[in-house]
Symmetry: C2
């Protein structure tokens, strides 16, 4: 089969032209369970916060004018007319010349317009000696000072952390609409691939990709659905992929897409629906065999079998799609500047990604040191790397000591 190898940008463009990732649905859940979910509605306050003028200190609610001119050695005397508690509407009215005992958070009683701090007063029975003047509205938090009724406090697309959930609670919202989590079917292919936990027969290896990719789906805000290891058998692949496409919102496979004679996956994908395979190989290293199909509106990423290639291609192409389907705002991948620890060459004519480990040199400069890939099947390459450096296909090389941008594999 002839393969046109697309550049990374061409591949992204083809995906973009054929598939617009968007949130799949909305569900209403208790805010106690909403941590790390994505808000699917704009939230408008139905009440003022605070809902009433409240005292911000313990002391006495008064008319500010009644304390005018009070000083340490020239106290003013007021009459205590009662007390206001938190959580109760005040039962008293503060008239001229009187003061109401009040605690932090309690509503300011009618008639009062300021609160004297406890430490600026002295009480003797019903008499209150005031040793400090107070300005109008002093120690009073006005209703609506924090959040105004009808104010939009959070917008759809906001990731809900502790502070956002606090804001929802503050205006009385116990349940919120969030985007549903996209279900992503993950499966591995290959006659040599064995599930971890099973006995390893001669010539076989354990599956890595279905496990690392499932975790990568979780990291991206999706829910992985494990579909196991499949042989390179068209009938079996057809049946399982069909069921995966029915039950999940997206499918990720790995293996079965190099140029070997057993690569039945692209043919299988074309047999399942229209338009079928839309990308069949990329001019990247690693990631060359990456295949993307669109089957009746659902996207299938058939990633290379090598663990590092599979996870790198996931980061480049799949992760942004899952994030968008989860309703998450696109965040730029985290990149740090470092100096190349040695000269790095791109593969001829291919966008090349070199896995690197970050370390400080003796002058405390951050160095990007290529992780010896050894051979591309190696899982340890990936485990040891902190990120990767991208080399353009047109670049001759990156020289030792040159500044590079390292895209981090974890945040």
């Amino acid at each position: 089969m002839f393969r046109k190898l697309l550049t990374l940008e061409e591949a992204k463009k083809v995906i973009h032209e054929n598939f617009k990732p968007k949130p799949l649905g909305v569900e209403e859940i208790p805010i106690l369970e909403a941590w790390n979910r994505v808000l699917a509605e704009d939230i408008t306050a139905k009440i003022d916060i605070p809902p009433f003028n409240r005292s911000t200190v313990d002391g006495y609610a008064v008319k500010a004018e009644d304390a005018f001119g009070a000083e340490e050695n020239k106290p003013i005397k007021l009459k205590v007319c009662g007390a206001v508690n938190v959580g109760e509407p005040p039962k008293i009215i503060v008239k001229k010349g009187t003061a109401a005992e009040i605690v932090t958070g309690a509503p300011i009683p009618e008639g009062a317009d300021a609160v004297l701090m406890l430490e600026h007063t002295e009480r003797k029975g019903d008499e209150l000696y005031v040793y400090n003047a107070v300005a109008k509205n002093e120690n009073v938090m006005k209703s609506g000072a924090d959040i105004r009724k009808d104010e939009t406090v959070l917008k759809a697309g906001h990731l809900l952390g502790s502070r956002e959930i606090g804001v929802l609670a503050s205006i009385g919202i116990a349940k919120a609409k969030v985007y549903t989590i996209p279900k992503v079917a993950v499966l591995s292919t290959g006659n040599e691939v064995t599930e971890p936990g099973e006995k390893l027969s001669p010539g076989k290896i354990y599956d890595i990709n279905a496990y690392s990719l499932s975790a990568a789906v979780s990291e991206s805000g999706g829910k992985p659905v494990y579909f196991g290891v499949l042989p390179d058998d068209m009938a079996v692949l057809q049946k399982t992929l069909k069921s995966a496409l029915e039950s999940a919102d997206m499918v990720i496979t790995s293996g079965g897409v190099s140029i070997g004679p057993k690569d039945v996956l692209p043919q299988t994908l074309n047999s399942l629906g229209k338009p079928g395979v839309i990308i069949c190989g990329m001019a990247t290293k690693p990631g060359k065999p990456t295949t993307v199909a669109l089957i009746d509106g659902k996207i299938v990423f058939a990633l290379p079998g090598h663990p590092t290639s599979a996870l790198l291609t996931f980061h480049l192409l799949v992760r942004p799609i899952i994030q968008r389907m989860a309703g998450r705002k696109m965040r730029k991948p985290l990149k740090v500047k470092a100096l190349a620890a040695m000269r790095m060459f791109p593969a001829k004519g291919r966008r090349t990604f070199i896995m690197v480990k970050l370390r400080r040199d003796e002058s405390n400069r951050l160095m990007a040191e290529p992780v010896p890939t050894g051979l591309s099947g190696a899982i340890t390459t990936l485990a040891k790397a902190d990120g990767f450096v991208e080399i353009n296909e047109k670049q001759q090389f990156i020289d030792a000591g040159e500044e590079v941008l390292v895209q981090l594999l974890k945040s």
Copy 2:
């Protein structure tokens, strides 16, 4: 009640002397469910990876010496003796002068010590024309080249991400021991506090802290257990705190610890077990009323009622404890350098934390702009802030334009 206000460092020291947070237990779970969990055992490979010498290309397995001297215009002729597939032990032996067809990932058959790439050969029936020499071990990944048997591949305390889970799968491990997730009871106190979703009576406000703190517990690697809103009533508090202490590994309350006459929480805590309250107030702003108790080996954090104070104190004192109980390696909080957008003053004699928003000025310098706290009950202060600046109690002020370290509230 007399309160000795400890400095932040003294408070941390008192906690450290009285309570050593450590993982609470271990459970074995499938690695498919282990994402974001903390490994509780050192993992040693029981097998070599790869488990056998394998081909890294499609081509022909040969004795390297047989291809010695082969060139584009001086091919060497070998006899094809059979084929080796992936996933099967080779059934053939490569003898002198012969070559075995082989695909990527298939085991190297006995007798062969190198693999010729397909594109360096031409096949005519049983005859193979070799146009390139090959070095011994070329295109062969030796068994154990990636991971050696008995090698420790991951250590206890490692947070399991996609790459670590890939490493576990690669050596056949389907289930791994991880630390149990600490259960943290969260409750709010206060007669004025109403649960979101309920009708708000006059004088009452909605609970914020049980919700924001529950989410903060999740963010820290714990599992929040909601215990609701409790009145300032000693009998009710005693009963609920007792049940929270029995069912959870730690308790966080908020409210009920200022100097108001209704602050029954410290007394209640002292009534529940020994040693009772170990910290009763800190010389910080906010966070002054922070109370910490130890009851029969379990720690209780009684945080201030103001939402910003509660969450800030959580960040300073509680989060590190939950992380350690979850078995997580302590990560230093993320801090960024910025310039103070205006002069900032500490509260007299108290370590002061000022919530700030980060923005770029016209010269693209990162500026730390204090969020107007208005009054300390404000939830929006917290929602708008990106982090906080710490001002030492001995410092006079931080001047406008001075460099400050901003501790970020989220990563």
